[in-house]
């Protein structure tokens, strides 16, 4: 591991200032991405700023929203009784990822900012435009079974690995940040992550030193009828091949509104808005769900080894909506 200096801040602004002044500084949350990638020299910060002691580790609940501190752990959020009751899709998504040990360590902001698990990103001897801009992408013609089919470019097809983020984007979460000059702003979750385009190394819309302070999820009564379905090679402790986060607002057997997020197949936490709109006003039948699934995958681009994901993703969407339809709420 490359040498670095370790700093701990007591206030969010101090942390933002500490990292803002140094282009090669990074924030440390639970360490499950950062320490892992520092060991293999993929991330080489000169300064690590520990942000777990900024007073941002509690969950606030009101009738209008829940407010999640940036360093709330994944376990804390998934196990919170109000989250389980109002937003089952969020608890389910988090619990489907990693293991208890990792969820106990990983922070919510860290989960949002985690890096891809593309093996070529992780291997410093491989070509990867995300890790080293302009070096090429070994995944395009390489072993790309786990890679994305939505939001891809000719420069990068790495999958965004988070389950939690798929639920967050479906729930219209809002990310609150503070910058090193003390100014704050809010970013809709769907605008935080970027598709790779021709700058895959620019993963999120945050400035150097800009610190996530909390994530706010607005009230959504329909989310009581929500579900996260994850399909993977092992039944536990594995990243998604495909996943779907759904919210279904039903009036009898008619769909008032539906929401659909997709994981395991996209370069960022994916929201299938056109598919959602197609369901409005339709009967909640398997046929309607299948039509929505076709729309959701309409723009997909598959490669040699991940072509199976196109049909698997559609089946995942249909099954997720079916489970939500049948749920007792």
């Amino acid at each position: 591991m490359k040498a670095f200096t370790f700093e701990r801040s007591a206030r969010a602004l101090d942390a933002a200032s500490a990292a803002g002044a140094r282009p090669d500084a990074m924030f440390l949350g639970g360490g499950t991405t950062l320490v892992d990638l520092m060991k293999v020299d993929v991330l080489t910060p000169a300064t690590v700023v520990d942000v777990r002691h900024l007073g941002l580790s509690s969950i606030g609940v009101s009738d209008d929203a829940i407010s999640i501190g940036a360093t709330v752990t994944n376990s804390q959020l998934a196990w919170h009784p109000v989250v389980r009751d109002r937003f089952p899709v969020l608890s389910e998504a988090i619990l489907s990822g990693a293991t208890t040990q990792i969820r106990n360590m990983a922070t919510v902001a860290g989960n949002i900012l985690q890096r891809t698990r593309c093996p070529y990103f992780r291997d410093i001897h491989a070509s990867c435009n995300r890790r080293l801009p302009g070096s090429g992408c070994d995944a395009l013609e390489g072993f790309n079974r786990g890679h994305a089919v939505l939001g891809v470019s000719e420069h990068c097809i790495a999958t965004h690995p988070s389950d939690m983020c798929v639920a967050m984007v479906v729930l219209d979460a809002v990310v609150h940040t503070i910058r090193d000059d003390g100014t704050t702003r809010t970013i809709p979750f769907g605008e935080l992550h970027r598709s790779p385009g021709d700058t895959p190394h620019v993963e999120v819309s945050l400035e150097q030193g800009e610190l996530i302070t909390r994530i706010v999820i607005p009230s959504l009564p329909a989310a009581r009828r929500s579900h996260y379905l994850k399909v993977r090679d092992r039944s536990s402790y594995e990243f998604a091949l495909t996943s779907a986060a759904v919210v279904l607002d039903l009036d009898g057997d008619t769909i008032r509104a539906a929401r659909l997020g997709l994981g395991g197949i996209a370069t960022k936490p994916w929201r299938a808005l056109e598919a959602e709109r197609s369901l409005t006003g339709r009967k909640a039948t398997d046929v309607a769900f299948r039509d929505a699934a076709e729309l959701a995958l309409a723009g997909a681009v598959a490669r040699e080894h991940n072509r199976f994901k196109l049909e698997l993703a559609k089946s995942t969407i249909v099954r997720a909506f079916t489970v939500a339809r049948e749920a007792k709420v």
Partner: protein, 181 residues
């Protein structure tokens, strides 16, 4: 840099390189070699320890980040010569073969039981809105909750049996005392 934290109730002040992991600090600085280094990349669970009551991976924890925290390792579980109930259950159920993953398995299992008593759901819980219950917990639940601890000898059936034995004893004693654990 200096860092202060407690290990098995004993306060330590260590001068550490920021690159030092908690795992290496425990093994190489404090001589507590019960915590094992398996993959050293957060995949196998052999290095599991308990920090402030939560099971975590010491290989992905920087020692420098442990300021003020309380760490429990496998060496801190027994009370003198009296084994912790989970240690006794692993012996009774033959929950290991080579033993390399065992310290992590036991610490993880101790926390898994506490989590079950707290009622928190797992990925295989049918409805996350409902609390789970020690008396009706399925083997599928135990396996999911322990999926972060790999065993190359495949002692899994006996590990599940050991955890089930501890849960059953606690449920029985709670019933006899007329209260929930």
């Amino acid at each position: 840099m200096k860092v202060n934290f407690r290990v098995n109730g004993i306060a330590h002040e260590l001068a550490v390189d920021p690159r030092l992991t908690l795992l290496d600090a425990l093994r190489d600085v404090l001589g507590l070699t019960g915590t094992k280094k398996g993959c050293d990349q957060g995949a196998c669970g052999a290095c599991t320890v308990i920090i402030d009551g939560q099971r975590v991976l010491s290989c992905l924890t920087l020692a420098a980040a442990c300021e003020g925290q309380s760490v429990v390792t496998i060496e801190g579980l027994a009370q003198g010569d009296e084994l912790h109930p989970m240690q006794a259950a692993f012996l009774h159920c033959d929950g290991f073969q080579c033993g390399y993953c065992t310290p992590g398995q036991i610490l993880s299992a101790v926390c898994a039981v506490q989590e079950v008593h707290a009622g928190v759901p797992s990925h295989v819980t049918r409805d996350v809105r409902h609390s789970v219950d020690a008396a009706t917990l399925t083997d599928e639940e135990i396996r999911e909750r322990m999926s972060g601890n790999l065993c190359r000898c495949a002692a899994y059936p006996n590990i599940v049996a050991a955890i089930r034995q501890v849960l059953a004893k606690e449920v029985r004693s709670a019933v006899s005392e007329g209260e929930r654990p």
